[in-house]
């Protein structure tokens, strides 16, 4: 297989003004078709939703500090965890890495001036904001209490809350997802620079490509499912009502056919980010590049076959349970290949523990714990015991928060100099990364134990013997909240007072580091030519050179 290396020769730095200088009016941002500006628009909206979802769960953790209901009522509690789930899943996790970093980096990494459909790209953002607006309207109007999964028949027959507005909001956001997926697939196929063959693509591009395929194939099913909720709730059609011949478990089949692959929409881009960061800060070629690519495509494909593991105790037949259990074990194989290959990349690398690397290493540990507990849940006898307990909550938070959010912050720190042209204060960033790792484990590890002991999820009261675990968890959440707020502070500080980054502060390979920081509107002064693959940190077959400290901000000034 082809070796991976950087483009030969440095590209000339453009004398053009950066994309940030291309216009200062609100209209120049809200009407832009520049993929980099659209990425910033997503960054702003996604950050807003992240903190909105965070506020909701803060109240949830405060309520769970004691066994009694002493902060909110049962109804309010239902609305709070639903708000947290809906905002965090549909409006933070799914658009976060693909829509911010995918948008910003995909054209830069393949040597393109923009995405294939720039105006569709902007429309995707407006669809996302439209969906979010509807959801926030539902929140202001009184909220929704079905949980983020909208399970029938509760959502269609019994809930007196704003299910329709929320479902419509998610429906719109789904179209944003589809449009983004189509755009990225077309961009990857059509706009690669000369010489940028498929197996010279950076792994982040492969990750975004695989994610886009999942978005395009799975999201329409979610749209149809939400329309069926509306049809039953609004028009009275008996689709999921068992008393009129409907099947409530059919809803779960349709819903999870999208929503399990959605987990991979969240995790695959994170895997791409971690691949880029680990190889850069270990100064070492990615171990088994082709296996990494096939593993990503494998995860995207097999991810479509496993949705039934969410339904082992929902009334599904044991025979189907057997099939889904087996397939759920199978999807762990490509995930494990990736973890082993990241570990092998670190082996004998010249590792430096900069902030992005700390986040990536955090991802590695937390994703592994999340993945292994996923195997517990793929095993039907164990799942019967721990289903709908805090064990499940801990498992998917290890994947989504420990995995995806860690990778999100890794990406944010790794590409911050490229996006803004500024360097952040490294000591603060390392401190925040370590604090986030400890805060996260402090919050969610006790939930494995309390879940195994039998504390059900989505309850606002619990037996007193579970209090110690919930106190630990709530205390950890305070640490985690502090760790999330810190980057907001020092990154904002760096926008004004941060040192100039230069175009390649990490000495990284890849086309995005060959252009100015921040990049000009057209990305590259002339179309780059690629004659070798990515990750050329050392000659093939040799060990990395001894680590040379980098002089950040020196050298080629953009």
């Amino acid at each position: 297989m082809t070796t991976i290396a950087a483009p030969s020769g440095d590209l000339p730095v453009s004398s053009e003004p950066s994309y940030l200088s291309a216009g200062y009016t609100l209209g120049s941002w809200l009407g832009t078709s520049d993929h980099k500006r659209i990425a910033i628009l997503y960054a702003i909206s996604v950050t807003l939703f992240f903190f909105l979802g965070g506020i909701a769960v803060t109240i949830v953790r405060v309520e769970l500090f004691t066994p009694e209901a002493d902060v909110v009522t049962a109804d309010t509690y239902n609305r709070l965890f639903t708000l947290h789930g809906v905002i965090m899943v549909w409006f933070f996790m799914i658009p976060s890495i693909p829509n911010i970093f995918g948008n910003f980096l995909l054209p830069l990494m393949i040597g393109a001036p923009d995405v294939a459909f720039p105006r569709l790209n902007l429309m995707s953002w407006y669809l996302n904001i439209g969906g979010a607006s509807l959801t926030i309207y539902a929140l202001i109007a009184g909220g929704v209490d079905t949980g983020w999964t909208f399970y029938t028949p509760f959502s269609t027959m019994f809930s007196n809350t704003h299910v329709l507005a929320t479902a419509a909001g998610v429906f719109l956001a789904g179209f944003s997802s589809i449009a983004t997926g189509v755009n990225f697939i077309a961009t990857t196929h059509m706009l690669r620079a000369p010489g940028m063959t498929w197996f010279r693509l950076p792994l982040f591009v492969w990750a975004i490509y695989a994610t886009s395929i999942v978005m395009v194939l799975a999201t329409p099913v979610l749209a149809i499912t939400l329309i069926l909720i509306v049809a039953e709730r609004w028009l009275g059609l008996p689709i999921f009502d068992p008393s009129r011949g409907g099947d409530p478990v059919l809803f779960q089949h349709l819903f999870w056919f999208y929503s399990h692959p959605a987990v991979y929409i969240m995790v695959l881009p994170a895997m791409g980010v971690v691949s880029e960061v680990i190889t850069c800060f270990a100064r070492r070629r990615v171990f088994g590049y082709t296996f990494m690519v096939y593993a990503m495509i494998g995860i995207a494909g097999i991810g479509f076959f496993v949705w039934g593991h969410h339904m082992f105790v929902a009334g599904m037949s044991p025979y189907a349970g057997l099939i889904f259990s087996f397939l759920s074990f199978v999807v762990a194989v490509p995930s494990a290949i990736k973890v082993f290959n990241w570990t092998a990349t670190l082996y004998r690398g010249q590792i430096s523990f900069d902030a992005p690397m700390l986040y990536a290493l955090g991802f590695l540990g937390l994703f592994t714990i999340g993945g292994l507990t996923g195997l517990f849940l793929a095993s039907i006898p164990v799942d019967v015991h721990v289903t709908d307990t805090y064990f499940v909550v801990a498992h998917f938070h290890y994947i989504m928060v420990g995995g995806t959010v860690s990778a999100f912050f890794a990406a944010l720190h790794f590409w911050w100099p490229k996006i803004t042209g500024r360097l952040y204060p490294e000591t603060w960033a390392r401190f925040a990364a370590i604090l986030m790792f400890f805060g996260f484990n402090f919050t969610f590890f006790p939930q494995f134990i309390v879940g195994y002991l039998g504390m059900p999820r989505r309850y606002h009261v619990y037996p007193p013997e579970f209090q110690v675990y919930n106190v630990l968890s709530s205390a950890g959440a305070v640490i985690l909240a502090a760790a999330y707020l810190m980057p907001l502070g020092y990154l904002a500080w760096s926008l004004v007072w941060g040192r100039r980054a230069g175009r390649n502060p990490w000495d990284a390979t890849g086309l995005e580091w060959q252009t100015a920081s921040p990049p000009p509107r057209e990305n590259f002064p002339r179309t780059p030519h690629v004659d070798v693959g990515p990750y050329d940190y050392h000659p093939e077959g040799m060990s990395p050179a001894p680590y040379q400290p980098r002089h950040r901000g020196q050298g080629d000034q953009a």
């Binding site: 194939l217 089949h253 349709l254 039934g308 599904m316 025979y319 189907a320 099939i323």
Partner: protein
Amino acid sequence: MSVWSLWRRNLLIWLALLILLGLTFALAYIPLGPFNIVAALGIAAIKVGLVSFLFMGLARSSALIRLAAAAGIFWLIVLFSLTLSDILTRLSGR
């Protein structure tokens, strides 16, 4: 193909789809026993053909485009078959 001929062609396809929808609706009220579902699915298949081959233009597309469309059908088969693996075996052993 001119804009007008494109409109006319698509309007004709839309009209055909509406006629088939009406046919589905009418057939639901005619007692055919087990053939009700067969008839409904048959009409649905004709609609799928109209949309994919004529409206989406797959009849005149390259093999690669057809392959991409077939991929969608494949995932639909995955959805149906694994869902039916539950629904068709749900009462077994009782």
